[in-house]
């Protein structure tokens, strides 16, 4: 049975798990008064087999690890206000064990549950209670200025801890297998280090931040513990973790990078020791078969784990429709050989105006299709999705209005926005679906080589759902495969321009993916029919505007 428990623990490894606010914590909510807590704690400790507690303490296992390994049902030892020293003294008193003076890092959790760690300035930090730790985190969230409506806590611990734990457990099994308490205790699953830690700090964090913790919230607080004496396995596992996270997609690259870097750093200077560590633990397993007393699973720990706090928001999405009033603005940043094409881009104008309002790190612009740089986007506008990475603030409706009027009020009037709003990541799916709806409306300024007749206006308006064949236009033939594609022109309408017999406006609605410019001039006869071939003359397109992109969901 205990073997099963172990294997479950091991598979859990350094994987980052999310903790949802647990009902269990509620029962120990802050209102619990001090004496009650102490009494409960004493009772809990009393119920444990004293000699085992003593054994564990003597091999340098910390108080919280003793209680969690022995499966103390009442998680009173996670109480946020419980000071380290009191917990220790209660345990020592009950077990009749006297520690040899100085503070010692736990041989199993490497000090994590003693709330001791090494910060980025390489100074050793020792927190008194879970509440102190929560305060430090809350401080960080506030300093970084995150506006949050919930959080999820992620804890990642070195693989070494699990190795320590499993060798300790199998050692205990060898010695105590026959005893009744062992059979009972070990049936209940041993709570992992990271769960205990999350358990201890989630509640005070909720209080301090005044928000609830959520299982899959966008705002993440990550505690990454690394230890110099990590093992080979952890390197592999970390890589697996990285791959998995990236494949789940749309996340935050800089966050992975940070996580990866920290794991890299620890793995780099650990590889030399790796072999000796794994070798040692297997020796211990053999030793334990011959020795009656519990052995320290690993050498005394001299250095605590290195802890990195990281607060980030995965991303938020804003959707809307954009208008492009200029024939010299590209949709996305377009730079060839360090030379900018066009004077600006829709992406940059919109992104740079929204980003500071959300105080994010970066933005990504996605649009439903695109138009050429010399084509304006008018009328309905084109749907787009803006992904803000690590946004500190989710813009309120007022902020959204402010952003809209700011962009629409820009002096150069190159770009406009409409229907801006914050959406969940579902906006992404909506846009992809919408892209398939496939009807676009255009207005082209056309010149023909003879005066326009009334019959022309008539005959053009009668063409409904006309099929055309388009060979890949010469202008894109260098990058698109040479094919003949069938497209549908749904309808066309000619609007005369008074005073100019050879110019007219052609309004048309086509299947998405139709090359309009080529449909007008014929592309050396490679699009058939074309406006030129229908009217039996030469037709040239002077200007093109997109007037409507149909997409109900946006």
């Amino acid at each position: 049975m205990s073997n099963e428990v172990e294997s479950a623990q091991v598979s859990d490894a350094t994987e980052v798990t999310l903790l949802s606010s647990s009902a269990e914590i509620e029962s120990h909510a802050g209102s619990c008064d001090e004496e009650m807590t102490l009494q409960l704690l004493k009772d809990a400790v009393q119920s444990l087999p004293h000699h085992v507690v003593k054994d564990l303490l003597s091999v340098g296992v910390c108080s919280r690890c003793v209680l969690r390994i022995l499966g103390s049902e009442d998680r009173i030892y996670c109480h946020p206000l419980l000071p380290q020293s009191i917990l220790r003294s209660i345990l020592e008193e009950v077990a009749g064990f006297k520690s040899e003076g100085n503070f010692q890092l736990c041989s199993v959790c490497l000090g994590i549950l003693q709330l001791s760690y090494c910060d980025d300035k390489e100074t050793m930090v020792k927190m008194e209670s879970p509440n102190d730790m929560a305060s430090t985190i809350a401080e960080l969230v506030k300093t970084e200025g995150h506006q949050i409506d919930g959080f999820s806590l992620e804890v990642s611990v070195p693989q070494l801890i699990l190795e320590n734990e499993s060798s300790l457990l199998s050692g205990m099994k060898k010695i105590n297998e026959s005893e009744l308490w062992f059979q009972e205790r070990m049936l209940s699953k041993c709570v992992s280090v990271k769960d205990v830690l999350k358990f201890a700090i989630t509640k005070p964090l909720e209080t301090l931040l005044d928000v609830k913790s959520t299982s899959a919230g966008c705002f993440r607080i990550r505690l990454t513990y690394t230890h110099k004496r990590a093992s080979d396995n952890s390197v592999e596992r970390n890589q697996g973790f990285k791959r998995r996270r990236i494949s789940t997609g749309n996340g935050l690259h800089n966050v992975y990078d940070k996580a990866v870097i920290t794991s890299k750093v620890c793995s780099d200077y650990s590889t030399n020791e790796t072999i000796s560590v794994t070798g040692r633990s297997s020796n211990i397993l053999q030793d334990q078969e011959t020795f009656e007393h519990l052995r320290i699973p690993i050498d005394k720990v001299s250095e605590p784990c290195h802890l990195v706090y990281l607060c980030y928001r995965t991303h938020i999405y804003l959707c809307g429709r954009y208008l492009k009033y200029s024939r010299n603005v590209s949709q996305t940043r377009w730079i060839i050989d360090e030379e900018r094409m066009g004077e600006a881009s829709v992406e940059e104008i919109i992104g740079s105006n929204i980003l500071p309002m959300c105080r994010g790190d970066n933005y990504k612009f996605h649009a439903a299709g695109r138009e050429d740089i010399d084509v304006r986007m008018l009328g309905s506008g084109r749907p787009f999705l803006l992904e803000i990475q690590n946004s500190c603030q989710i813009p309120s409706e007022e902020t959204i209005k402010e952003i809209e009027s700011k962009i629409n009020g820009l002096e150069n009037k190159l770009v406009g926005v409409k229907k801006l709003k914050v959406v969940s990541s579902q906006g992404w799916t909506l846009m992809r679906e919408g892209e398939a709806e496939k009807q676009k409306q255009y207005c082209a300024l056309v010149w023909i080589s003879r005066p326009l007749e009334d019959e022309d206006v008539q005959s053009i308006s009668l063409l409904n759902d006309m099929q055309i064949l388009q060979k890949t236009p010469i202008r894109v033939l260098h990058r698109r495969s040479p094919l003949e594609r069938q497209k549908i022109i749904h309808w066309m309408k000619i609007e005369r321009i008074s005073g100019s017999p050879q110019y007219f406006l052609l309004h048309l609605c086509t299947q998405a993916g139709t090359y309009i410019k080529e449909f007008v001039h014929g592309d050396l006869g490679r699009t058939q029919p074309s406006i030129g071939s229908i009217l039996g003359c030469r037709a040239e397109i002077m200007q093109l505007d997109v007037t409507d992109v149909k997409m109900d969901s946006f």
Partner: protein
């Protein structure tokens, strides 16, 4: 305390509802007005200022391609054009001064079955894999024959002029050779070739610009062979 806070809200509900109805109507009205306004605004943007429009605008070929000419290519009177798109692709065809157009009745047939293979028989498929070479496109030298253009009295070999991959030949010419007589510079093009950038630079130096070509043809005496054919 809680109850007191709730009461004013409850009594306010009916008023709110009425207000909502009014607001809805007003909103619908304003949406309609807004839509009309937007249509008008859109239309204003679409209608061009006709005083700014040229009487005859440049053709798409003129505005999208740079024109080059190969006068008397391999043979006097064989004037060919090379229209180069900024993307590097070259459209080759017969210049209006080509001898074939001076024959009585002009061009009567086009035959792509020249050289080792029928130029119209092979289809280029697949995407470009390496820079400037398509999947299975044939690589031709600038003097490789593309097709034979026949008139009632004579026939002329049309050549690539540009070293590169042959992407496409104009198959319509087989059934409609008359496209050459009516619009050799547009629907009557012969082929599309993609040269490597370096090859293009070499070829370019041997070609004439439109202006130089015009000058050379106006001063026809420089090239006596042209008149004699």
């Amino acid at each position: 305390m809680v109850d007191q806070a709730h009461k004013p809200e409850e009594t306010a509900v009916p008023n709110n509802l009425q207000q909502h109805h009014k607001q809805d109507e007003e909103q619908q009205q304003s949406v309609r007005e807004n839509a009309e306004y937007e249509d008008e605004e859109l239309h204003k943007l679409l209608v061009p200022d006709i005083t700014q429009l040229p009487l005859t605008p440049p053709s798409s070929v003129e505005s999208n391609f740079a024109s080059y000419f190969a006068p008397d290519f391999m043979k006097p009177g064989n004037d060919q054009y090379v229209y180069r798109h900024p993307n590097g692709l070259c459209v080759v065809g017969l210049a209006s001064t080509h001898s074939a157009f001076k024959d009585k009745g002009g061009v009567s047939a086009v035959d792509f079955n020249v050289g080792k293979s029928d130029r119209s028989g092979m289809k280029v498929t697949g995407k470009r894999k390496k820079a400037s070479s398509f999947g299975n496109a044939q690589h031709f030298e600038s003097n490789t024959a593309l097709c034979k253009v026949c008139t009632n009295d004579d026939s002329y070999i049309i050549r690539c002029c540009v070293k590169g991959s042959l992407l496409e030949v104009n198959e319509r010419l087989i059934k409609q050779p008359d496209l050459l007589n009516s619009s050799a510079d547009r629907e009557g093009y012969i082929a599309i070739i993609m040269p490597k950038p370096a090859d293009w630079l070499k070829v370019k130096s041997s070609l004439l610009s439109l202006e130089d070509f015009k000058k050379s043809r106006e001063a026809g005496s420089i090239l006596p062979s042209h008149n004699s054919s």
